[in-house]
Assembly symmetry: C2
């Protein structure tokens, strides 16, 4: 799994981040199912994207239909509707990879870190979906508007998960999106990427940056 025959769903696929993920995965050759609470909106977004990219790789469906059809399910939904959507897709994601991109922003002070009682959204997702779902977290720190454009994004993607194979598959998908995915350890480590988004929002504002991201630096050890 992870090659271009892998069917990918994007739950919340008509939002800014979801559209960016869907577009980049479709461009990389993956069949994509855009999910939305409103199936008609998902179908329209899919048609529009197919027209823009040329092809028919993208289809639209309800969130639960999208999750049912896919092998890898990206979650790109606001924190406020996160728990409800997990309950909606829960019955159809057993054994599948669920990639949670959710950042626990708490308006209005979105530049101050707030974390859920479980320590991170990703851990909360694993608890809620149960241990037979392969939860991975990724893509918290990439500016959605940059993902929607055909341009290089100057941001590494920290990929966390307790299932090493699932984590590696998600790194492959992230790389296919033209980003650099880095395996960043167990799901508990997702707190870094989730909290970092608030810091980046503050830095954007303070230093007048449009879509700050992160890069991991370092010199390769001499072999």
């Amino acid at each position: 799994m992870g090659d271009q025959s892998t069917v990918v769903a994007v739950i919340g696929g008509t939002g800014a981040l979801g559209l960016g993920i869907a577009r980049r995965l479709a461009l990389a050759g993956y069949p994509v199912v855009i999910g939305s609470r409103d199936a008609a909106r998902a179908v329209a977004a899919a048609a529009e994207m197919n027209a823009a990219l040329g092809g028919s790789a993208i289809v639209g469906a309800t969130n639960s239909e999208a999750a049912a059809r896919a092998e890898v399910v990206f979650l790109a939904v606001p924190f406020a509707s996160h728990a409800a959507i997990l309950d909606e897709i829960g019955p159809v994601v057993s054994g599948k990879i669920v990639v949670d991109t959710t950042v626990p922003l708490q308006p209005p002070k979105v530049s101050t870190v707030h974390l859920p009682p479980e320590g991170s959204v990703a851990v909360a997702t694993q608890n809620r979906l149960g241990s037979d779902v392969r939860v991975v977290s990724a893509l918290h720190n990439v500016a959605a508007h940059r993902l929607q454009k055909d341009e290089a994004v100057d941001c590494d993607v920290l990929v966390c998960g307790n299932d090493k194979d699932a984590r590696a598959i998600v790194v492959t998908l992230v790389d296919a999106m033209g980003l650099r995915g880095l395996e960043a350890g167990p799901l508990a480590n997702s707190v870094v990427a989730e909290a970092l988004t608030s810091v980046l929002i503050g830095i954007n504002r303070r230093y007048k940056i449009d879509g700050a991201g992160i890069r991991i630096t370092g010199t390769a050890k001499p072999s």
Copy 2:
């Protein structure tokens, strides 16, 4: 405050990180007091550094004497002795800036994020020292061995604190050390930098990097 007349103490100044901070601040022209539990060790380290750098800007003392003499007090101590050392310097840091560099690593699994019940070490430090101490956090993600060498360090420094003036002074000091300090918001945001160290340790191991760091990326907004 923040200019080169500012006396700086480095508590735990004979450790790897402490020596790096002391060396770089001394090179930048600041008077530095190295603190250690063992005053003789601190005096010896100061003498050795003065000899290496040429000059007499560095002195050694016990941790509490060092904190008493300085206006800005860097904490570079292991997490295991953190609380005890706060209680030791607490009586002499009222009104001062205390810069906490402590990462809450929990051996043996240091590449998995563990956070204290307060959410971050920096918040725990503020609670323990009381509200009249200006706690700032910084320097969690810089490899100590790189700080001790006269070379560029490819790592940004996230600087968090609830007191904006104190935060700005610490950014000045970090910049003087040849690093790039970035104001990263309130003390609660320190969780990002504290947790990131575990992720970087894992990345060092997994990708065979010697001292991975982070850079904040982004394009300046057109004015």
